[in-house]
């Protein structure tokens, strides 16, 4: 009789805590997988950084101009994409459709690459 009304012991509590923690943990993991952060290319000191970025089709790449002069981001071969002039502090988003060599047409020695 005494055993029937006994409150759960320490081991049972520990089991439920572990169960709760692991269920929360797996839920957080799912969220991270489903919301991949956009890749970033920083324009600074007359360079695209990183100069070569590994991407997948459908990825979003954000270009941020942290330099002291305006720049642009232009696909090199056929002008498949063009950011327009990015003022100092401005940013521009690109959804990747293919690998690309790109440049700044204002400063033609500045070049970068999106690699699939």
């Amino acid at each position: 009789m005494k055993k029937l009304i006994k409150v759960p012991g320490k081991s049972s509590c520990l089991f439920f805590l572990v169960l709760l923690f692991t269920s929360c943990h797996s839920s957080d993991k799912d969220i991270v997988i489903n919301t991949r952060l956009p890749d970033t290319v920083v324009i600074k000191q007359m360079q695209f950084s990183p100069a070569v970025l590994r991407v997948k089709i459908g990825d979003t790449v954000v270009f941020i101009n942290k330099d002291i002069v305006p720049h642009n981001v232009t696909e090199e071969k056929s002008r498949a994409f063009y950011s327009d002039t990015l003022a100092v502090g401005a940013s521009w988003k690109l959804v990747v459709k293919d690998s690309a060599d790109y440049m700044c047409t204002i400063h033609p020695t500045m070049k970068g690459k999106l690699d699939l």
Binding site: Q47, I68, P108
Partner: protein
């Protein structure tokens, strides 16, 4: 023989540099520049290149030269705007000095030379001058202005301008290849 040739080339470069850009060698001889003097040299050096670009925009019909001149006018104006904003914030008044005066004197001689030329000869003279001018400016900024600057923000602005001037030099050299 090769050593003699190299020596001759180096001597010619030094002489041409001293004649065309006397301020670059003059600055090395003078005493340490103050921040107000550095601000004056920085603004003047940028303004001189804007003036050259405006002449090119009037005289040239070459697409590469015009595009380069447009970039020079915009970029150097952007540096001037930032330098003026900084000295205003720091309450520093740019102060004329031997180097900035020499820059203006050099500009007067170069403008005279530009005015005596037209067509392809002008394009070549303009782009050759841009290559030499940017080399001289980079040397002065790296070896004198950055070292002499005492205010950290002024020093940082000068440091951040060096990659810009080096990219301008690479761009000028790229255009220069069309005139050789």
């Amino acid at each position: 023989m090769k050593i003699l040739n190299d020596f001759a080339k180096a001597t010619i470069c030094l002489l041409v540099g001293t004649v065309m850009f006397p301020w670059s060698s003059m600055a090395q001889k003078t005493q340490k520049l103050t921040d107000p003097q550095i601000a004056s040299v920085a603004v003047t050096a940028n303004q001189v290149d804007i003036d050259y670009a405006k002449i090119a925009q009037k005289k040239s019909t070459n697409a590469d030269v015009l595009k380069f001149a447009e970039t020079m006018a915009k970029d150097h104006q952007s540096v001037i705007d930032q330098a003026v904003a900084l000295v205003t914030k720091l309450k520093v008044k740019p102060e004329d000095n031997a180097t900035s005066k020499s820059l203006k004197e050099g500009e007067a001689k170069t403008v005279k030379m530009f005015n005596s030329k037209s067509g392809k000869a002008f394009d070549k003279a303009y782009i050759d001058n841009e290559v030499a001018y940017h080399k001289a400016v980079i040397s002065v900024v790296e070896n004198i202005l950055i070292k002499d600057a005492t205010n950290k923000e002024l020093k940082d602005l000068l440091v951040s301008a060096v990659p810009l001037f080096k990219a301008h030099l690479a761009h000028a050299e790229m255009v220069q290849k069309n005139f050789k």
